[in-house]
Amino acid sequence: MKADLNPGGGDGPKREDLRSFLRHWVVPGPPPEIEEGLRRTFRRRRANGRPALWIPLATAAALALLAVWRIGMKDRPVAPAPAERTVAVATPAPPAPAAVEPAPPPSAPAPGRPYAAVSAARPSRRPTPAPPEAEIVVEPGQAQGLAELGRRLRDVLQGVPGTTVPRVETLSAAAATSPIPAVGATDVPVYGAEWEAVAGEWPFVQQSVPTSGR
């Protein structure tokens, strides 16, 4: 001890005397039952900890069994799908109602039929229809020029292998209905009457109000 433990004064025995008095109280050693109790506590905790080790082992075993089962199901031969059903689904045009076999609900497979066969017999995705050909509508005078340009381009590119040249057809203006409406120069626009009603007025302009008298 490095503290000042001997303050002096007359309030009792000195530090060394105090120590000798304190030595009168001798405490016996710990009884052996403490060690026995701790030994039991240790073994009980170790025994309680063992099931925790089995949990991941059991989980891993279950996952391994599941994986083996899935692999076994994949290797099983799949029953061929009924031909009439595949044809009926793949046809873009809707078949006649009498020729179509009623399809079972997807969540309820037919009894006695394996799951893989039911999955294989499901109708495939409907093919996406091809986009329509682009149609360019031009004025009759421009169509002649474009047709001439197309013919020259075809003559140039015909010698290059692997290239396709767009087909150019010239239609008469009367043969096809033009999507551009014919509008006369003297026709009054639809909004003309409304505009005439407000033609002499200025639009509303918001002006700031002065806040001081200056």
């Binding site: 009792g12 025995p13 005397d17 016996p28 710990p30 240790f42 905790r45």
Partner: protein
């Protein structure tokens, strides 16, 4: 790592204990059981309480080993701090539940024996009585300093106080104990050896 548990460090023994090595755990107990039990006995004044406190302290190494941080203090200091907390808890509980009169453990041992044995028991009883009358904060620093002979820094670590506060508590504890023993010194019950 050595096979003999007595040659292994505390950290190695703790790791082995966490791994389920019963021998390592018992080696930790054998290293520190004397200090923990004696301190708990002197703090509580009861052998039964000291037994419970000692068991709880060492069992805490199994229940919550993460509480011990080897970078802060040694394992002996940690166990003494745990014993101190358990003893204070036990003392407050015993104070509420104690009947009128003194505890049975504070009475001097009775029975036939040589005269010197009787006198020694009486002296021990006087010291125990004087120590038990000290405030717990004074009693713990006095026990740790005088009986366990720990330095101020270790005592401060155990009781969770500054070194200066430990110094002050120790000074006051000594003064009070001297005052309590002065009567017995004058009466001749206690004599300087």
């Amino acid at each position: 790592m050595s096979a003999d548990p007595r040659l292994r460090s505390d950290e190695e023994l703790l790791r082995a204990t966490a791994g389920g090595d019963e021998g390592a755990f018992l080696e930790i107990y054998r290293r520190y059981r004397e200090r923990v039990y004696r301190f708990a006995y002197r703090m509580t004044g009861s052998a039964d309480a000291a037994r419970d406190v000692t068991h709880t302290c060492f069992a805490s190494l199994l229940e919550a080993p993460f509480r011990y941080d080897g970078r802060r203090a040694g394992l002996g200091t940690y166990l003494c701090a745990a014993a101190r907390n358990q003893s204070l808890r036990h003392a407050s509980r015993a104070w509420r539940e104690r009947p009128a009169g003194t505890s049975a453990d504070l009475r001097p041992a009775k029975g036939p024996g040589p005269l010197e044995r009787v006198l020694e028991d009486e002296r021990a009883w006087i010291v125990r009585k004087a120590l038990s009358n000290l405030a717990p904060l004074h009693r713990e620093v006095l026990i740790l300093a005088e009986y366990e002979e720990l330095d101020l820094a270790t005592i401060a670590e155990i009781v969770g106080a500054e070194v200066g506060a430990v110094k002050v508590r120790l000074h006051r504890a000594r003064r009070k104990l001297r005052s309590a023993l002065e009567v017995h010194v004058r009466s001749g019950a206690l004599a300087v050896e």
